[in-house]
Symmetry: none
Subunit: 221 residues, 4 copies
DNA sequence: CATGAATGAGTGTTCATTCAT
DNA sequence: GATGAATGAACACTCATTCAT
């Protein structure tokens, strides 16, 4: 084989390496396009092209565009939620701090990046792909709610938080950070009369509001 | 000819009556389909069919699918926001009550109905239809933010609310009710391990939380 | 009828006058559009609109777009050819002058105006509307050839022109003026590296060329 | 499976062979339809069908109907004009002979065949497709005029032709052969009271006429 | 394994023509 | 007569998926 195999820093032949890396490359390419253009508007060919393979090869790894999307959902969100559970289990100290940490961490890892766009996609396509929607509910939404619910519960148990209905409060807590994710992904490029506020500033106001409330409080002395 | 002759010499000329009702019928049909299937996936022909007319007739009233969508947005959302400004202007009494009223009213009129689905659509399709996105920002998002911003400002001016950054707080306030709208429209039909909380209950918790805060407060006596 | 009838300079009521003028107005409007956009691309509605009537009214006078076109062809070209025959019959003097006159007159009346565009249309649509094509051959092409043929014949009979095959020479004579008509109508708006020559200048060159070749030359000894 | 299996293990891989031949087949089919029905009235699907492929395949090779048309123009006309320039450059001998040759050759290769129909199409559709019209002016009309202009200039420079305005004379020269092309393509199938003259006879008369007019006459004393 | 040529169903939009009023 | 609301067939172009090589 005189044809010099391109860049082979390990013992493994390059072609072999590529073959094993294919699913990851395809997933990464798919994530980008799905977030940018949505599920229906993403063309199989451009995903393949960005991953450096041909259209046919994509179908060798994922039998349909829908299955490809499911794989992306699995890869981009479940991991972070699982890690969240570990963090919560190991935390010592104020629950308010834990809540702050969990939420800013979610924003850092998911919300502000490409993975955040997946949330947008799912909301959009849920009704057209009910099976996908159920999968997303089971693998992403329910675990997230369990995670935040456990934090809240701990705060109420310790007396740090006042008693509140769990499920409803979780919704209220999740909403702002999710909204930032959604709006950034959807309208980030649009001109606003009043400029969009910084997502991190919104998060801080939210934590402030949530913890302290909106009302002016009489000096408690 | 036993087939009931379509000519109907009654008081109301049928053709005329239809002509005046057409825009409303088309808008109603379009709203249903847009919410159910999204903008891109909705076919002009099925909208026309549900309104009981042919494809060509739809284009007699709206020059393109985009214009049809804009008309739906105006009819379903912009109207309510305009009314909201009037309500706010005329309100006398506690700003906390006004805030409560504005938000529950929005949920009653928009969030829980089909119109709420429009928000979902826009988030989903914004990046694929930038002109539509800008229209939505100008006609819905910006006015909504102005509306809530004016309420907040009034509360802070009167000393009823503590001082907070306006734009960011508006985001935090809007998020939960919007999230209920989005999730209902997207995942309403999905099974959840823990049942979805009632949206109205979530709204109440939100108002409670927002106004009072999460933290247990030392008895101020 | 107290409604003041608009501008009634004669005894005839205005509505009556309009009714009688309708065909002419429709024909004039149709000519403009057919020349500008061709037969297929001309919309029945815009013809009606320019004539100041509704779409339905057009079909009251002409049962189809094709019949409308035939009427336009009749009105715009046949008249001038018939007049040409009269002019030729009454002419006294040199045949070269007659030829010059016939051709410049055709350019003045037909070639440079809207009617000239009809020639373009016919050439374009002939194969799609064979019946129209035959009509045009019978009513326009054949009479034109007879007209020029008679002029040539007279010139050859009188010894002013040298003998040449009639039909072929007629083709050669007609071609340049027709080409000017066609090109003006088709490419008049296009940019040319070398500017289009003035049609009248081309006609003069043609007559110069043709006559220098056509004239019997006296033995110059 | 008695149905002869489509796999054909012969020497030439069928798929490959087709792929290379496709553009030519599509161009040939397109030329036929464009000439027969015009640009606007030709349907992409029927072109594909005549070339033995599906609609989608056509768009694999040409991104739009306009581009397909441009390709046909290039293939059918531009090539011959380019060759004409070479012929002119290499010619030795009388310019009258060269003129004769150029014009009869154009008739042989273009005018009498399907390619001639393209001229008809362009005249017809120019105003509805301005970009196409400009392309045609740049690629066909202007080069043709340059070609004939250079021949004329050479004749005038050498004293073989008498001095005449270049651009105008070119128009006069082109017109008859172009008219034959146009009429053949448009009315070829129509019955004429006096039969259409033979195009080649017309060409000969034209050359006779033109040259008797063009040639500098030796003082006949 | 990998390719990419080929497919054909699918959709927004236009417009000649009809007909109830 | 005149209107204009309604129709529905028509067409360019796209893209997920297949399969011969």
């Amino acid at each position: 084989m005189p044809k010099s195999s391109p860049s082979r820093p390990t013992a493994q032949p390059a072609r072999q390496r590529r073959k094993e890396a294919r699913p990851q490359e395809l997933l990464a390419a798919a994530l980008e396009f799905f977030v940018e253009k949505g599920f229906a508007a993403t063309r199989a060919e451009e995903v393949a092209a960005r991953a450096g393979v041909s259209k046919g090869t994509l179908y060798l790894y994922y039998p349909s565009k829908e299955e490809l999307f499911k794989a992306v959902v699995r890869e981009s969100l479940a991991v972070h939620i699982a890690e969240g559970h570990e963090v919560v289990a190991q935390h010592r100290g104020s629950v308010a701090d834990l809540l702050r940490f969990v939420m800013t961490e979610w924003w850092r890892r998911v919300g502000q990046g490409a993975a955040g766009g997946i949330c947008k996609i799912m909301i959009a396509e849920a009704r057209n792909f009910p099976e996908l929607a159920q999968f997303y509910v089971d693998e992403v939404i329910a675990p997230s709610h369990r995670l935040l619910g456990s934090v809240l519960q701990r705060g109420m148990d310790s007396g740090e938080f006042r008693p509140l209905p769990l499920a409803e409060t979780v919704q209220v807590l999740i909403a702002p950070v999710l909204q930032q994710t959604l709006f950034l992904s959807a309208f980030g490029a649009c001109h606003m009369p009043t400029p969009w506020p910084e997502p991190m500033a919104v998060l801080e106001v939210q934590m402030d509001l949530m913890l302290e409330g909106l009302l002016q409080r009489p000096p408690s002395g």
